[in-house]
């Protein structure tokens, strides 16, 4: 209940902040081309699945992100830890 309330609060906040924005969409002709391109690429992904195990890719992607951005993640963790007084992390 608490977690749900927090997430709903975030959603409502976003709606409140960006609610007034109303940018137009692409023209239909452009959208059609993009959609067709998307379909072709998705088919390509299926072809690639013959050679690449997407399940492994899906597993590795978050790990790679964590490793590549390790520095920032480290900073974030330390930022939180430094907020805890009795740990005395300078």
């Amino acid at each position: 209940m608490i977690v749900e309330a927090l997430f709903n609060l975030v959603l409502n906040l976003l709606e409140f902040v960006f609610g007034w924005v109303s940018l137009p969409d692409f023209p239909d002709s452009v959208n059609a081309v993009i959609d067709e391109f998307t379909v072709i690429v998705c088919d390509g992904i299926s072809i690639l699945a013959i050679f690449v195990d997407w399940n492994m890719v899906i597993i590795l992607i978050p790990l790679v992100i964590c490793v590549v951005e390790f520095h920032h993640i480290w900073q974030l963790v330390m930022f939180v830890l430094r907020k805890i007084p009795f740990l005395h992390i300078g």
Binding site: N8, V41, L60
Partner: protein, 541 residues
């Protein structure tokens, strides 16, 4: 997530409640043990409990008929599995034993088809090997009365082209008398005997056979067992109280049983006198009227009687029985009279034991099978159980059972209440911190819709990205179609759109397996190299 947390929390709760339940159960068991100084003190606790239930089932009102049935079913199952390579007897098989009414014909006679004799035999063996049955003597518990289970004789060759049969008599108390209603291959038991177990003189009636072997356990009368064709008949304490001219088992006449012609009588007890002889009961003269049962009893050695004793067994008085000059009747038979207080063991043909005690109406379940115990020991155990049972009855078993039931119900109620309370608490805590199922899907969907509406064309790249990710997540390596759009220039079609089907059913999956293996190795190796590089960066910078 919610389910997992529940799984984690529940064992702790269950342990606590189990401990409390164990104490409660122990308390109730103490009541049981203290209340029933019956036999089986060396048995495990559960056996004691079962014994209690067995006694209850054996009580006249059969309060625990269901338990008795379950008990028998379990025994039947053991024997059935022994004979069927461990196969479980299905419900249909079992129910066929319970429902003897299917074999009751329009003439109100029970006919067991030969095709099912074998199965009934196994059941009867189970009963005989494991227990002594004690159905109700008064309740209409058709299908549970073990006397309903009739095992008949494939090898039964009637001496005079007849089969033994159980003929219905007008007087219900005379039902299930062995009469001489012969017809073909079927052996009959009256529907009265089959359906209405109130025939007290056949309190427990378990006929079974390989060679015409029957085992009767008579209500308030003891054990009668007689075999045909060279086997034996044991009739213990059946004809007691001859001084009144009545059999104590049903209050009727002491001719409550009768063997068909050709049955060899081995031993007989009359009012404490144990008569042992060879002889033959003659079939009744009138096999249909049922009024002449026991009017003639012939004793001889497989010889059609030429002489009869003047008194019908029904009219044999104490005096007549005691003065029965067997030697006069059984010219060819061997006989032995055992004085009261001694028991004749037909297996060893020796006189053993101490006291022949009339057996009571209630008997408890036996624990041994054929061959495990001698006849004398068997009798002793029966007598011991009789005494124990009467002791148990003195302790007001019914009251104790109701008390025990009350305790168990109380424990069950407490258990159910605690279980529901803890479940409710766990659910409440989980609902506080764990989002409900599908919440995040809905949340992301709402967010996606919101940004698509507000950001318009700026959000299009994200939509494409999400489409690609979905394609990656949901790809299927089965079969798919490639689409090549057509190429047009002005009004001319340079290349029409094309679809290329790729069949993934045969060779490609094998190829794909090795390709995946190779690419996975490359990716994992690359990932490890990346980790090493980052590790070095972290150490140096």
């Amino acid at each position: 997530m919610k389910t997992k947390l529940k799984c984690i929390l529940k064992p702790f709760v269950a342990v606590i409640l189990s401990i409390s339940l164990t104490f409660s159960s122990a308390a109730s068991v103490q009541v049981n043990a203290a209340a029933l100084p019956i036999v089986y003190t060396s048995f495990d606790l559960w056996v004691t409990v079962l014994s209690l239930l067995g006694i209850c089932a054996a009580a006249e009102n059969l309060d625990n008929v269901d338990q008795a049935v379950e008990d028998i079913k379990s025994k039947f199952k053991v024997v059935y599995q022994d004979n069927h390579k461990g196969e479980e007897p299905d419900d249909e098989k079992w129910n066929s034993f319970l429902d003897l009414s299917q074999y009751v014909g329009s003439d109100n006679k029970l006919r067991i088809p030969q095709s099912v004799w074998e199965e009934y035999k196994k059941f009867a063996d189970a009963i005989t090997a494991k227990s002594i049955m004690t159905p109700s003597s008064s309740n209409n518990i058709y299908g549970i009365n073990y006397g309903d289970y009739v095992e008949f004789l494939e090898d039964f060759l009637p001496i005079d082209s007849s089969h033994s049969a159980f003929t219905k008599f007008a007087d219900r108390s005379h039902n299930a008398l062995i009469s001489s209603n012969y017809s073909g291959i079927f052996v009959r038991m009256t529907s009265g005997a089959a359906i209405n177990p109130s025939v007290k003189n056949f309190y427990c009636f378990v006929p079974f056979s390989d060679y015409g072997y029957y085992h009767w356990n008579l209500y308030k009368s003891g054990v009668m067992q007689f075999d045909n064709r060279g086997s034996t008949l044991y009739c213990l304490s059946v004809i007691e109280n001859l001084s009144t001219g009545a059999c104590s088992c049903d209050g009727g006449f002491n001719t409550a049983f009768r063997a068909t012609y050709g049955y060899e009588v081995y031993a007989f007890v009359v009012n404490g006198l144990f008569y042992n002889f060879d002889g033959v009961f003659q079939k009744p003269l009138d096999e249909t009227s049922g009024n002449d049962y026991g009017n003639l009893v012939y004793f001889s050695d497989f010889v059609a009687p030429s002489n009869t004793i003047s008194d019908a067994l029904s009219s044999v008085t104490q005096s007549a029985a005691n003065n029965l000059n067997i030697a006069d009747v059984f010219d060819k038979g061997t006989y032995e009279i055992i004085t009261p207080g001694r028991v004749y063991d037909p297996d060893t043909e020796t006189v053993t034991g101490d006291v022949v005690v009339p057996l009571p109406a209630v008997e408890v379940v036996e624990q041994y099978s054929n061959g495990e115990i001698s006849w004398a020991d068997f009798l002793e155990q029966l007598q011991a159980k009789a005494i124990d049972t009467s002791t148990a009855k003195d302790l007001n078993t019914d009251e104790l059972i109701s008390t025990q039931k009350g305790i168990l119900n109380g424990v069950n109620n407490i258990w159910n209440f605690l279980q529901s309370l803890i479940d409710a608490l766990i659910d409440m805590l989980l609902s506080l911190f764990v989002p409900s199922e599908g919440f995040f899907e809905d949340w992301f969907s709402s967010l996606n819709d919101f940004f698509a509406d507000t950001l318009g064309f700026l959000y299009k790249p994200f939509e494409v990205l999400f489409s690609l990710l979905n394609a990656m997540l949901n790809y299927q390596l089965t079969e798919f179609q490639l689409y090549f759009p057509g190429i047009y220039w002005q009004e001319y079609e340079l290349c029409p759109p094309m679809y290329v089907d790729i069949d993934m059913s045969e060779e490609i999956p094998k190829l794909s397996f090795y390709m995946h293996l190779g690419t996975n190795l490359v990716m994992i190796f690359g990932f490890l190299m990346l980790v090493q590089k980052k590790y070095e960066e972290a150490l140096t910078k």
